[in-house]
């Protein structure tokens, strides 16, 4: 809500307004001003109360309406043109804009109405809140909305639980002396079950969540073309919306930098390398009958190692940015969710690297439990953590590209 400032210094005080009109100037006589901005907001929110939850989408509507009048920020990213195409700013519009926003923060520092200005325009934070609200709205099953909202505890519980489960299994089951390497400690079927069950569940949940979001936000006449998909993919790879139109984001403060963008790209590459390493290992095992552990100079080990190192470095960098960053453009809970998933990714990577180093030692069993437990928890966390953003953002980018193309025709 906009607060009308009542501070009047003697030399600038406005004389009591001549009472011909109810529209006095706000500063001079707020009490006589039935149409101050504070009170001028319409009584009927366009959304049902129930739907709002903790998040006030009426506030998001107010903020982006100011952006639609001003329009100065349209050179930073796609959000502002997209908002202009959606003057009604419905829940669906806001859900789309929220994910089109990559949180580069340029528009906060450039805003003449940013807090402490009484208009209190903070687009990055408002859209962060909208993302959190939208995530909870689309989570599947909806009973797990709380798990997503409190992803720090969820992650701790799942990761701890999975590691404890593995340690328990290792302790309970006698080593299989017929098997070699890792399978001595945990048999392959157990490993597969620990990966496949959480992964299948997560894929199902993600499909449901993402589908529900797509049905809400896609334009009614949208036709997904190959071209729009290609351009959206390009936006994902380049993180075009994290460039502030060129000079970069406000990673920690007013200064511009491309660090967060580069770290995010590096993290994606790191995770990708680990994924390829795992797929290759599966192929070796099932198609070629080569049994792990593989030699140092092999695709699984080389890719896994470089990916793991990449994840450790980039998650450390991102955590450093979170630690030093200004909280104004985000929320504490969103920050916690980001930190949580970075720590989980880091745990998986560090334990994987430790496993590589210690695979011939007595510590192997414990390291294996840590790593497999971490991976298993990571899979389970996909729909109930920050990682869920992957699909939402891609859809927002596809919709943006579709709209841009139709705007050109």
């Amino acid at each position: 809500m906009i607060k009308v400032t009542n501070q009047i210094t003697p030399e600038t005080a406005v004389k009591k307004n001549n009472a011909q009109t109810p529209f006095s100037v706000a500063k001079g006589t707020p009490q006589n001003n039935p149409f101050s901005i504070e009170k001028g907001t319409p009584q009927q929110p366009t959304f049902e109360k129930k739907e709002l939850g903790e998040f006030n989408s009426f506030e998001a509507q107010r903020v982006l309406n100011v952006c639609n009048i001003c329009g100065y920020c349209n050179g930073f990213c796609d959000v502002f043109d997209a908002a202009q195409r959606r003057p009604a700013l419905t829940t669906a519009d806001l859900a789309h804009l929220a994910y089109l926003c990559h949180g580069c923060r340029n528009c906060l520092y450039a805003c003449q109405y940013a807090p402490p200005h009484q208009f209190n325009i903070n687009v990055p934070r408002t859209l962060t809140q909208m993302r959190q609200y939208s995530d909870a709205l689309h989570v599947w099953p909806s009973a797990l909305a709380g798990a997503l909202r409190d992803s720090a505890h969820t992650a701790l519980l799942l990761t701890g639980g999975a590691i404890a489960l593995l340690l328990g299994l290792i302790w309970l089951l006698a080593p299989n002396t017929n098997a070699s390497g890792f399978y001595r400690v945990v048999s392959l079927p157990v490993m597969i079950v620990l990966a496949v069950i959480p992964l299948s569940w997560s894929l199902l949940a993600l499909t449901r969540s993402w589908r529900s979001y797509w049905h809400l936000t896609r334009p009614p006449t949208a036709v997904v073309t190959w071209r729009s998909l290609r351009l959206a993919l390009q936006d994902v790879v380049l993180l075009r919306n994290l460039r502030g139109g060129g000079p970069g984001c406000n990673d920690v403060d007013e200064r511009f930098s491309h660090l967060r963008r580069r770290l995010h790209q590096g993290l994606v590459i790191g995770v990708g390398l680990c994924f390829v390493a795992t797929l290759t290992a599966l192929f070796y095992h099932h198609a070629l009958g080569w049994i792990a552990p593989y030699p140092i100079v092999s695709i699984p080990v080389l890719f896994g190692t470089s990916g793991g190192i990449g994840i450790v470095l980039t998650t450390s960098g991102l955590l450093w940015l979170k630690w030093h960053g200004d909280l104004t453009p985000t929320t504490r809970s969103a920050q916690n969710a980001d930190v949580t998933i970075l720590l989980v990714l880091m745990t998986v990577a560090v334990s994987g690297l430790a496993l590589l180093i210690g695979r011939e030692t007595a510590a192997m069993a414990i390291l294996l439990a840590l790593h497999l437990g971490g991976v298993s928890a990571l899979f389970a966390l996909l729909p109930y953590s920050k990682l869920v953003h992957v699909g939402y953002r891609m859809m927002a980018l596809v919709i943006e590209q579709i709209e841009r193309q139709s705007a050109h025709h």
Binding site: I2, V14, N17, T21, F23, V25, G75, A110
Partner: protein
């Protein structure tokens, strides 16, 4: 610091360009910004574009020659009190984008297809506040000493030289001996006393669109010391804003823009001007001046449901009512008067041959007429935006010579005082406006003033 600093009074575009230009030439520079840090930057915070003479450039469409810029100024703002300075501004604007880009300011290419296409102006990416951030960052990087919350309260002169700059009030007061002073403190548009002296009771009905710090205090100090006054002290640039805007700092989003879509009535329910007469962006200022003459300085833009659909988004939703009587009651306008005004208007509406051309609808036999977009006001609900004049800048300043040295009323100049930005803009124009002019004057004069430093 060993040598006395060049003191720059102000914290907007003019002050920063002066600080950067002077520092680049080796001066030690102290910049005194009256505002707190979060509100630094003067009214540049609220600006978006600036007018430049240009050849083919990625930043603007087509070509805009110096002669055309000059002609636009002559047409829209009359003759300048200092025509040579006006010419200097026009000529120097040609190198402005390059200079600003060199100072770290981000400009928005038109090829991005996002800014409103403009031939005469270049756009700042992220607007004026982004520009201000970039200039402060560059100034700090160069070693300009920056002090916020530092209002100048006194200037001591001796033999035509400033020998002391007094800063702050009460226990926080301090002073500095300057090598020279560049005054870039803007106009007096936030000073309610200034309004009252000129406009009397009408001053109470005016809103300040910009920052609350532009009180003209340093301008007054110079005038008291015998500086030559230029411009028109009785006038200000006013635009129509929502009457429910905050008293200060509402900026661009408080404007009311869709007068051609409706009727504008005063507190008595009477129309006074042709709402369809001016549909270009010049209408904002025209209505601002008119509203100052309205009773209580308030006017109401009436729209019906159709007009409302066509209206652009507004900061505060309009007042709505199912019929005119209820609307009139909400606005405290006599019900019969409003009803009669609307009925007379509806009766006078004349559809054109092609009724689909809203532009060509006009009234016949109505005084004042509505010459364009005169569609009947019939579709419910009805709505109204209350409007007031919003002050943007004043036309009152100090005279300067071609080196931006401040002149005294006898025609001589102060030895070590220069002026830049809106405090000297009345040398270049003192009525009317063209878009992007204020920022161009500020940047060009700031840069030039910073480059004139024989005081080093």
């Amino acid at each position: 610091m060993n040598s006395a600093p060049l003191v720059i009074i102000g914290g907007g575009a003019a002050a920063l360009c002066a600080a950067i230009a002077a520092r680049q030439r080796g001066a030690s520079v102290l910049l005194l910004e009256q505002a707190p840090r979060w509100q630094r930057g003067g009214n540049t915070r609220h600006s978006r574009n600036f007018r430049i003479t240009h050849d083919i450039t990625p930043l603007s469409l087509g070509i805009y020659s110096a002669a055309e810029f000059r002609a636009d100024l002559d047409r829209a703002t009359g003759t300048a009190s200092n025509p040579a300075l006006r010419q200097l501004l026009v000529d120097e604007s040609a190198t402005l984008t390059e200079w600003l880009a060199g100072a770290g300011v981000q400009l928005q290419p038109v090829t991005a297809g996002r800014v409103p296409p403009s031939r005469r102006t270049a756009f700042l990416r992220g607007g004026g506040t982004a520009m201000i951030n970039a200039l402060y960052a560059r100034a700090a990087e160069l070693g300009v000493m920056i002090r916020y919350d530092s209002a100048v309260t006194g200037l001591q002169f001796e033999d035509g030289r400033v020998i002391r700059v007094e800063v702050g009030r009460g226990a926080g007061a301090w002073s500095v001996t300057p090598a020279g002073v560049i005054v870039a403190s803007g106009g007096a548009q936030a000073n309610r006393n200034w309004w009252r002296e000129r406009w009397g009771a009408a001053a109470a009905g005016v809103v300040n669109r910009g920052i609350p710090h532009a009180d003209g205090a340093v301008l007054n100090l110079l005038l008291q010391q015998g500086a030559q006054a230029v411009g028109d002290p009785t006038q200000a640039y006013l635009v129509a804003v929502d009457a429910r805007s905050p008293a200060d700092d509402g900026g661009i989003v408080t404007r009311i823009r869709c007068m051609p879509r409706g009727l504008v009535v005063d507190a008595h329910g009477q129309r006074r001007y042709d709402e369809g007469g001016d549909t270009a962006s010049t209408r904002y200022a025209r209505w601002g001046q008119r509203l100052l003459q309205f009773p209580g300085q308030v006017g109401y833009l009436l729209l019906d449901a159709r007009g409302l659909r066509e209206a652009p988004p507004a900061l505060v939703p309009p007042l709505r009512a199912p019929d005119l009587a209820v609307l009139a009651q909400q606005l405290k306008i006599p019900v019969p008067a409003l009803r009669e005004t609307v009925m007379a208007y509806n009766a006078a509406v004349q559809p054109p041959a092609d009724a689909a051309q809203a532009l060509n609808w006009h009234t016949v036999g109505l005084e004042p007429p509505k010459s364009r977009y005169a569609l009947p006001l019939r579709e419910r609900p009805f709505a109204a935006y209350p409007m007031r004049p919003g002050i943007t800048f004043t036309y009152h300043g100090v005279g300067v010579d071609m080196h931006l040295r401040v002149l005294r009323s006898d025609g001589s100049s102060f030895e070590n005082v220069w002026a830049a930005g809106m405090v000297m803009a009345p040398n270049i124009f003192s009525s009317g406006y063209v878009s992007g002019l204020a920022l161009t004057i500020s940047c060009v004069s700031g840069r030039l003033a910073g480059e004139q430093n024989p005081h080093l």
